[in-house]
Amino acid sequence: MELYSQILLIFPVLLVLITLAAYGSYAERRVAAAFQQRVGPNRVGPFGLLQPLADVLKLMIKEDVTPANADKLLHFLSPIISVATAMIMFGVIPLAKFGDSFLVISDVNIGILYLLGVTSVSVYGITLAGWASNGKYSLLGGLRASAQMISYELPLGLAVVSVIILTNARMPMGSDFLSVTSIVEAQRGAWNLFINPLGFIIFYICVLAESARTPFDLVEAEQELVGGFHTEYSSLKFGMFMVVEFLHLVIPPAIITTVFLGGYLGPFEGALGVAQWGNTAQILWGLGWFLTKTFTIAFTFMWIRWTLPRFKYNQLMDLGWKRLLPLALINLVVVAIGAAIYVFQTAG
């Protein structure tokens, strides 16, 4: 029974993700316009709300060009790899809790490692797109992507390890401390943001870098590389890269929410007696908080994009290797000592 309900959950989640990605593009343009004191897209439909549909239609009727010297197979596959790796991340993120079960596609017992693994694999889409296009701008974009992702994976992983240590200290013995649901459940009472603030900052910066958003968008720096890794893409293949870009406005904030902001947990859950509510009410409550936090983080992503200039390549590497990595190591040691003291106190 369990398996079927999970499979049934996949389709609505995918539909909502695609819709959110489409309206991510709308939100990004409206927010950008607001920051720059412009109006932004407001012509198609009321408040320009049909703009994403018009964009998709435009992309669909464009000619799909594959460069003559491109590697046809990989040129075709890489947008698919990109979209797939972006989307499957959502599979382990719990959206709400009702009774003793979770609204999640799959509560894998190594969920957080799954997230890290998919993150590290997602670079193939960009790198291969850059290589398969057989052009110098594309190749440079692809190379930058792989170097950047590998560099920021290390501090990202260390920040996650500090969270895992905290989860293990706060959850009862013998629970699956690598599953995403227990990471959220362990944050009952105090979010990881407040217990592990340095970890949050490191994690936030690294997630921003992994999703290649400004100020880390060197992979598609238009002033230097035309379009970066997707220079040679057109029509719906280009559209797929756009979908990924705007999925990066939904999924990374959702992951930050889950790991550091208590996911679906709302304030005063104990006082309000949320655990005694009906299933529907609990799902709405959890989902509401989850989406609120996710959209807030997404807004900060846009805020940063229209405030900070892009890093130079050496600054990017400096920040990753010389600042974030040592900081993450120190943070890990401090958190580990704190967690050990906490465990000894509660045990004895």
């Binding site: 990989l74 590290s120 694999v121 193939y124 790198t127 290589w131 692809g142 792989s146 590998i150």
Partner: protein, 172 residues
């Protein structure tokens, strides 16, 4: 129970065939990028095999370390070198012969060492691939080898940095 074993058999054959296809692709692809991608396919299939045995941790680490980090670096280097298709003809000289013999010896050795694990029932109790047993083993029984490996790795890292550094000093 019957359905579970059927699914496991199907998974086993799917991942085995894919894994072997990846391995063969690695060996016989003239194009370095395709060879690297075949190896990625092989890593994913092996992770799939781990998963079907209930060793989720091993599967995740396999993807994270090999497919996610090491192969991305490989691809990076291949792309930087802009390798052309390998046009060499397969010849059989003394070094290749020695490599073949050593390779077969290695496989035979592995078979002898792993003989005890041979008749493992698929889907049975398979606990040594999970987080806890691995962590416990690494930090108790195998603590010394574990720390030694760390030291060797650090030495290799420092050595690599040193070699790279000296090179730039000579140039500039």
């Amino acid at each position: 129970m019957e359905a579970a074993t059927t699914i496991q058999t199907v998974l086993f054959w799917t991942f085995s065939v894919l894994g072997l296809a990846g391995a063969v692709g690695l060996l016989f692809n003239r194009n370095a990028v395709y060879a690297a991608l075949s190896l990625v396919l092989n890593f994913f299939s092996i992770a799939g095999l781990y998963l079907s045995l209930g060793a989720e941790f091993l599967a995740a680490v396999q993807i994270l370390v090999y497919a996610g980090a090491i192969m991305v670096l490989f691809l990076f280097v291949i792309m930087l070198l802009n390798m052309q298709e390998e046009k060499g003809v397969f010849t059989f000289d003394i070094r290749r012969g020695a490599a073949f013999i050593l390779g077969f010896a290695f496989v035979a050795e592995m078979m002898v060492v792993l003989k005890g694990f041979w008749n493992h029932e698929a889907g049975g109790e398979f606990t040594y691939g999970k987080v806890e047993p691995i962590g416990r083993a690494l930090l108790t029984d195998y603590l010394f080898p574990f720390e030694m490996i760390s030291i060797v790795l650090i030495a290799a890292l420092i050595g690599a940095i040193l070699v790279a550094r000296r090179h730039t000093h000579q140039e500039g």
